[in-house]
C-alpha cells in the first residue's frame, strides 16, 4: 500500500502541533487539496468537531496559542475523514481548565465519526477517563491490555 494512501486513512496527530505557514484554513485545506478532496464541507465539519469557531479560519495559524494549535492539528487530521487516528499526548499544552472539554470533544467526534483512536498518554487517570481499552506499554512492548474498570494503578509504568 502506498504510504500516502495509508497515511490518509491512518493519521498521526503528533504531540508537537506545528502549524504550516498561512491561515487556519490554509492548514486544514492543504492535505485536502493535495488529495483532491472537495474542501468546504470537510473544513467546517472538522472545525465544529474540534470546537473552533468559523472566525478562526482566517487567523494566522502560527500566531495561535498552544491549545488552539492542538485543535487545528486535530481538525487537519479529521478533515481527511480517517478511519484510525493516532493521538500522541493530544492534551499536552492545553489549559487544565479546558482539559475535560477537549477530552470530551475527542470522545464525541470519535464516536460520531465511528473512528478508532489510539491515544498515547502518561496520565493514568486520563487513560481511564477516555478509553474503552487500555494497553500498558513497557520499553516498547505491550505488557497488558485491559478495560478501564479492571486496570490496576500498579500496572502503569
Amino acid at each position: 500500500m502506498l504510504p500516502t494512501f495509508l497515511r490518509k486513512t491512518v493519521i498521526l496527530v503528533p504531540q508537537e502541533s506545528v502549524m504550516f505557514p498561512g491561515t487556519v484554513k490554509d492548514n486544514i485545506s492543504l492535505a485536502l487539496r493535495i488529495h483532491n478532496i472537495n474542501n468546504d464541507n470537510k473544513i467546517s465539519e472538522s472545525l465544529t468537531d474540534t470546537g473552533l469557531p468559523k472566525t478562526f479560519l482566517n487567523k494566522k495559524a502560527q500566531q495561535l496559542s498552544g491549545g488552539e494549535k492542538k485543535r487545528v492539528s486535530l481538525a487537519r487530521a479529521l478533515a481527511l475523514s480517517p478511519t484510525i487516528l493516532l493521538l500522541d499526548e493530544p492534551t499536552t499544552g492545553i489549559d487544565p481548565k479546558n482539559l475535560h472539554t477537549v477530552e470530551q470533544r475527542i470522545i464525541r467526534f470519535t464516536k460520531q465519526r465511528n473512528l478508532t483512536a489510539l491515544w498515547v498518554t502518561h496520565d493514568v487517570s486520563q487513560a481511564k477517563r477516555v478509553s474503552d481499552r487500555i494497553a500498558n506499554l513497557k520499553q516498547g512492548q505491550i505488557t497488558t491490555i485491559t478495560t478501564p474498570n479492571k486496570f490496576q494503578w500498579g500496572e502503569a509504568y
Binding site: 500516502t4 494512501f5 497515511r7 506545528v18 492535505a31 493535495i34
Partner: protein, 269 residues
Amino acid sequence: MGGGILTMGIPYTPLEGLYILLAASSLLVLVIILSFYKKLGIGKEFTYAIVKGGGQLVLIALFLTFLFQTNLWIFLIWILLLTMIIVGGHTSAKRATHMPHAFQITTPSILAGATTALIVLALSRAMPLQPQYIIPLAGMAFGNSMSICSLSLDRLIREIKLNRTGIESMLSLGIPSKQAMEEYNRLSIRAALIPTIDRLKTLGVIFIPGAMAGLLIAGTDPLVAAEYQIIVYLMIVGGGIITAMTVAFLARKKIFTEYDQLAEWLYKE
C-alpha cells in the same frame, strides 16, 4: 603555440616573473613575521596555505604549458575535466554531514550545471574549442557549480533538520515528500544563489572580476573584456541554477526513505 602568446600583455618572461614574485613576496613575509610576533595563531596555517596553493598553481601552469603545446590536448583535457568533476563532487559532499554517499548527489549536480553552461558557451561561440579557452572557462564553471552545490546542499539539510517536526506533520497527513520539502528546496536554491546575484549586482563597482581582470592584463579592449565578463556571469548564473535545482531533485532520495519517512541520518546531531 609559441611562448610569446603566453607572456602577451605582461612585459616579462617567466624567469623575470620569478624575481618579481620573490620581490612581491616580501610583503607576505612581513605579514607572516607580524602574525608570529602578534601571536595571531594564523602564521603556520597561512604559510601552509600559501605554499600549497602556490605549488598547485605552478603545477597546473606546467601542465597547461605542456597541454597548449601538444596535439594530445584533446585527450588530456578530458582527464582534466574528469578530475574537476570528481574533486568538486567529493569536496562538496563533505558539506553534507552524516548524509550517506552524498557525492552521488553532488557529482551529478555539478556535472549538470557546469556542462550545460559550457555547452551553451561552445554553441554560442563564446568559447572557441581550444584548450586555452576551455580550461579556464571549465574551471570557472565547475568551481562555481561546486560552491553553489555546497551552499544549496548545506542549506537544504539545515532547513530539513530544523523543520523535522513540520515535515513529519505533513507526511502524517499523507502529503508526499516531494510537496513536503518544496518550501525548503526553494529556500536552499535561493540561498545558494545569493552570493552570485550579489556579485552580479556589484560587478565593476566593488571589484573587477577575474575574467575581465585577466583580459585587461592581457591587453584586451575594456569593452570586449566587459562583454566577455557578462557572458561568463550568465554562464555562472545559468549553470548555478541548474546545479541547485539538481541538488534539490536528487537530495529527496537521500532525505526520505522509500516509505516517504525522514531518513535516519537526519536525526544525528
